[in-house]
Symmetry: C2
Subunit: 277 residues, 2 copies
């Protein structure tokens, strides 16, 4: 549906060969105020760095950087370059809808408009600290709204469990530092309940959902209900988000740009928040 729309716009503008995602017109359904001051706003980096300690799922290939060059060349100047490899789903990363929905958008197909917008930061630290398997509920989201106002259509919703303070200690962050399939039953960290995922999609029509844990479903999940609900609704998910403790509860904006992997089910995500006065 979106693809067709983009093609129509491109044809009208006389631009041949425009693929989805290259050019997007303003969305009339957005809330009215979503301006970012690139020079005056405070910037917060919401991404962890990729390095040897970057946390991946116990069964996933970890990040590795391999030096190709680092030093002075024959010409007398410095030159450094590397190769890298990783699984798509580790570190601060995107889950594209296709990760859990057969017809979902791939990483390169996600409309840019879903990756930039007004955001909220829902603090559930007290519940998560009391129960490392905590699932964020609809009541938690309603309590947030009671204090901060209704979550507008097309908001990026960030869930702050406080888990980023454990990064990169895999034992505390994941529940286990062991790797391999045998470690998966020992994963413990909070996530989003299926009901709350459904509420965000159906009742609030959010743009995207992010969390400061390794997965939008909790570590003890076996059926990945929140992933499936969000993917089916073409809602991108941001995982292992950093620095939510630097953000207010509301009144800020997020721009989260994934590596443009054609056909990708996700990938490295660099996300920023812009915080005004």
């Amino acid at each position: 549906m979106r693809g067709s729309f983009v093609v129509v716009i491109a044809a009208a503008a006389g631009l041949a060969g425009v693929a989805a995602g290259q050019l997007e017109q303003p969305d009339a359904q957005e809330p009215p105020e979503a301006t970012v001051d690139l020079t005056g706003d405070r910037l917060v980096d919401l991404s962890h760095a990729f390095n040897r300690r970057t946390i991946y799922w116990p069964t996933a290939q970890q990040f590795r950087l391999t030096e190709v060059a680092d030093g002075e060349t024959e010409g007398g100047w410095h030159y450094a370059a590397n190769n890298f490899r990783a699984a798509e789903h580790g570190g601060t990363h995107l889950d594209a809808p296709i990760h859990f929905a057969r017809n979902g958008d791939t990483a390169d197909e996600i409309p840019l408009r879903k990756l930039a917008g007004p955001a909220v930061n829902v603090d559930v630290r007290a519940k998560a600290d009391a129960d490392r398997d905590y699932l964020v509920t609809v009541a938690d989201l309603e309590a947030f709204e009671a204090e901060h106002g209704r979550i507008a259509t097309n908001t990026v919703v960030l869930l702050r469990t406080g888990w980023a303070r454990h990064w990169p200690d895999a034992r505390r962050y994941m529940g286990t530092a062991d790797r391999g399939a045998d470690a998966v039953p020992n994963l413990h960290f909070p996530g989003l309940s299926e009901q709350a995922a459904r509420w965000l999609v159906e009742q609030r029509r959010v743009k995207a959902v992010g969390i400061d844990t390794a997965s939008i479903d909790r570590g003890q999940s076996t059926a990945f209900e929140a992933h499936r609900v969000l993917a089916a609704a073409q809602v991108p998910v941001f995982e292992n988000v950093a620095n939510l403790d630097r953000l207010p509860a509301e009144g800020f904006h997020v721009i989260a740009l994934p590596m443009k992997i054609e056909g990708g089910s996700g990938g490295p995500l660099r996300a920023l928040a812009f915080v005004g006065d």
Copy 2:
């Protein structure tokens, strides 16, 4: 110098353990108008997708996506995931200053403020079409200013050679589709002259420089003068930029977010332009 500044700010705000790049205060030297309307502006994706045809330097490891899963699970839901690998410098990517300057910023160290700001799109297609080894001159930049006004301090300067129309045909885009060290002398594509690089750094104090070719130095370069001038000045470079033909000459903004590779000399870059009315 910047690192120290960030630490001072962090200490003043009572935020312990804030590393450079996580939190950045507004820059007083910015030009006054740099607001982006996330809902009303037209968005243009400035990144090519990563796939099998993504163009890399003849000597560099190419992008490869390896399927890990794609299909229905035992639980009855769809699941897709992949691994990927590549050289840092291919596709639409960042050159971090350390790529060509021993003490330059690594990919994760670049201040976020250098990656977001007002931008200009300097059209040198006519010159590049007449000479595929063309080097953009100071006179070209002065001619741009004569028509569009002075390039303000802290602008992101994009150079439009028109080469993106050849993507992903390596023979036309690079001058040769051959790979390996023997192919390097046969590279032909336009770039930025050393003098113009120096002028952008010293006379206009630009934030970053982008180009729609494989390198900010032309294909025939052997000493990489533009790289070295920009790197020495801590100016990030964006290469293989896409869709400059969708942008006006001025009056738009760019946000270009690299994969946060710790110690990286560059890496995949997802860049967007926001074009107002």
